[in-house]
Amino acid sequence: MLGKGGKRKFDEHEDGLEGKVVSPTDGPSKVSYTLQRQTIFNISLMKLYNHRPLTEPSLQKTVLINNMLRRIQEELKQEGSLRPMFVAASQPADPLGDNFREAQPAFSHLAPPALLPAELVSAVPLESCLTPASLLEDDAFCTSPAVQHDGPTKPPPPPALQAVKDSFSSALDEIEELCPAPTSAEAVAAAEAAADGSKAQPGVHAKAEGVAESRTAEAKLMDPLPGNFEITASTGFLTDLTLDDILFADIDTSMYDFDPCTSATGAASKMAPVSADELLKTLAPYSSQPVTPNQPFKMDLTELDHIMEVLVGS
């Protein structure tokens, strides 16, 4: 926090970053631009994941932070640098399991629902009648998980639109990679289906399990963005998992010296065997070396299964 004359450590760090806007094409200042961008990216993720409000977080704030993350990822994609942003590599499944399921109903209206009352209303020519606000509320209460199961009827969005993603693990992202028509809702459904079979959605499940086309490694960069605005509660659920614990001690330069052994939460440590390896692989470029060029990230099904197991905590 600025003020009262006391200089924070971060101030020193960021004094070099702030000020003039640096274009990414400037030679010597490219590093500082990249550094600034990375810092902002990390701050943005922390804001979304670290927050455990008792009340719903502000939608405006969430949207603005998401847009920031998306923009940065777009930039990275365009630059062709493929440091996979493996920042939310792991998810503690157990503490979130129930919450996850609770949140499930709210997911359902992320997929375009075929038969929600609101949709019916919108079929009526809007110019001719007013929509009672009461009808708009129904979509918030749609609890049919089956509605998500909409894949075949929905054209798969182009990879560029995948920028805003579910706030859950990259394991889910992997599932999406395998699904031809991924949305976070479906990925969640797939995860749930794969995980506990309680929601019998064989179609989606099969999709997840089956080998579908994998997205490009660049699309892989569109990693963990909490696109789930409806479930503002869900971001609150993720505070058990703090990126801090897994990746950064704090937002100072120590973030660039990743030490997997510092992850403190029990859930995170459970994930450590999987995440640490992945993270080391992917974070190595951060710490000391310049940006490494294309490293297509491939994950086969066995690794995926392993991650799913870890995710579910079995």
Binding site: M1, Q36, I40, V63, L64, A133, F141, T232, A233
Partner: protein, 453 residues
């Protein structure tokens, strides 16, 4: 106006301050909205604890021509209580987001107050008489034995100590999935709008079980959501026209006669981005936190993080005037992003509309360190003033403040790094007829007025 003396310059003096003195601020006491009523006689504040406090201006004392009437507490009531949303397992804050007064039609006063989810119409009425002399009841309310009644009398009203009562007359609930950020009463005085992050609803003041959706920007796929509604207001004269602002710095003007659902705007006001000022935070600082029509309805004022802009409704492609509130923060945006200050929602207000003050055209908006800024559209001058208990004796003229952006700090200047970002002035209000302004710091309400000679 900048206090340079002469002519039409206003010299602002400290008048009063309301609220607790100690530095330890109770969360519930944080002021969240400030609003004068249409005559200026009443000044309402809402706080984070869901309470509304109304101050009333004393009638001007003929002998004391040096100052206008003081504001004293008139009524205090609990408008909203915290609630729990069981579906999402989250609390619904009782914080009062906005208060809007209805024009006075009879002896009672009415205002709308809203939290994130529910709008309430409150009636504030005075009682200064009570009936006495009932036939069947004693004065204390006990019923008399009818057999002891031998004569009849007519009850009469006798004066009593003034009692101000607030009662909720309407509760407008269950129409907003997202957080309500604005309410605005239509010039027909029969309807009003309420806006949340994604939708705007139209209500009739008499009808609580139904409201109509007039704007809906919720995408079919929430993952595609990139823009939210930040503020909305009805046009002061045209009852079918309203505007709403967005988190991307746009303002849309809509006409309700065009279609039932005003998803297509009639006008879109947006200033092209200045490429030389481009940064990671361009979008965030362009997010509009407040929009206010001028009294004539010809102009509107918007507030984004660093500036106040005046728009002519006839020109959509750029504002006619831009005033920098605290440009020195532009180089600090990364820190302000990190500590969340960049998301602070500053409001803005025009000066009053009465003939007396109409020759003025002043815009007011708050900043940090308990500073607030005023911009004179006529002279293009601006001033920074501070709301502080120190150095403020009644009727002493406020000293202009100055922030030193960089370099050598002059005497009496404050450097950017010394600013206290916890002391923010988000809410300001201007008396509709006189040069009196109410400025809310975190938990105190300051009243300033111009020096009357």
């Amino acid at each position: 106006f900048l206090g340079a003396g002469g002519g039409n310059d206003i010299q602002w003096c400290f008048s009063q301050v309301k609220g607790a003195v100690d530095d330890d601020v109770a969360e519930a006491d944080i002021i969240s909205t400030v609003e004068f009523n249409h005559s200026g006689e009443l000044l309402a504040t809402g706080d984070k604890g869901g309470r509304v406090v109304i101050f009333q201006q004393e009638q001007e004392n003929k002998t004391q021509s040096h100052s206008r009437g003081e504001y004293n507490v008139y009524s205090t009531f609990q408008s909203h209580e915290p609630e729990f949303d069981y579906l999402k397992s989250l609390e619904i804050e009782e914080k009062i987001n906005k208060i809007r007064w209805l024009p006075q039609k009879n002896a009672a006063q009415f205002l709308l107050s809203t939290n994130d989810k529910t709008i309430k119409l409150w009636k504030i009425s005075e009682r200064d008489k009570r009936p006495e002399g009932y036939n069947l009841k004693e004065e204390d309310g006990r019923y008399r034995d009818p057999t002891t009644v031998t004569t009849l009398r007519v009850p009469v009203f006798r004066p009593m100590d003034l009692m101000v009562e607030a009662s909720p007359r309407r509760i407008f609930a269950n129409a907003h999935t997202y957080h309500i950020n604005s309410i605005s009463i239509n010039s027909d005085y029969e309807t009003y709008l309420s806006a949340d992050d994604l939708r705007i609803n139209l209500w009739h003041l008499e009808i609580t079980d139904r409201s109509f959706n007039i704007v809906d920007i919720k995408p079919a796929n929430m993952e595609e959501l990139t823009e939210v509604i930040t503020a909305a207001e009805f046009h002061p004269n045209s009852c079918s026209t309203f505007v709403y602002s967005s988190s991307k710095g746009t303002i849309r003007l809509c006409d309700m006669r065009a279609s039932a659902l005003c998803d297509r705007h009639s006008k879109l006001f947006e200033e092209p981005e200045d490429p030389s000022n481009r940064s990671f935070f361009s979008e965030i600082i362009s997010s509009i936190s407040d929009v206010k029509f001028s009294h004539s309805g010809r102009y509107m004022m918007t507030r984004d993080y660093l500036s106040v802009k005046i728009w002519d409704l006839n020109m959509e492609n750029r504002p006619v005037e831009t005033y920098q509130v605290h440009e020195y923060l532009r180089s600090k945006l990364c820190s302000l992003y990190e500590n969340d200050c960049i998301f602070d929602k500053f409001e803005c207000c025009w000066n009053g509309s009465d003939r007396q003050v109409e020759f003025l055209s002043l815009c007011t908006s708050g900043s940090y360190n308990n500073f607030f800024r005023m911009f004179d559209r006529n002279t293009k001058r601006d001033i920074t003033l501070e709301a502080s208990r120190e150095n403020n004796k009644p009727r002493t003229v406020l000293k202009p403040r100055k922030v030193c952006a960089s370099g050598k700090r002059k005497k009496d200047e404050i450097s950017v790094d010394s600013l206290d970002f916890n002391k923010k002035i988000l809410h300001t209000a201007w008396h509709p007829k006189e040069n009196i302004i109410a400025v809310a710091t975190t938990n105190n309400l300051y009243i300033f007025q111009d020096k009357m000679n």
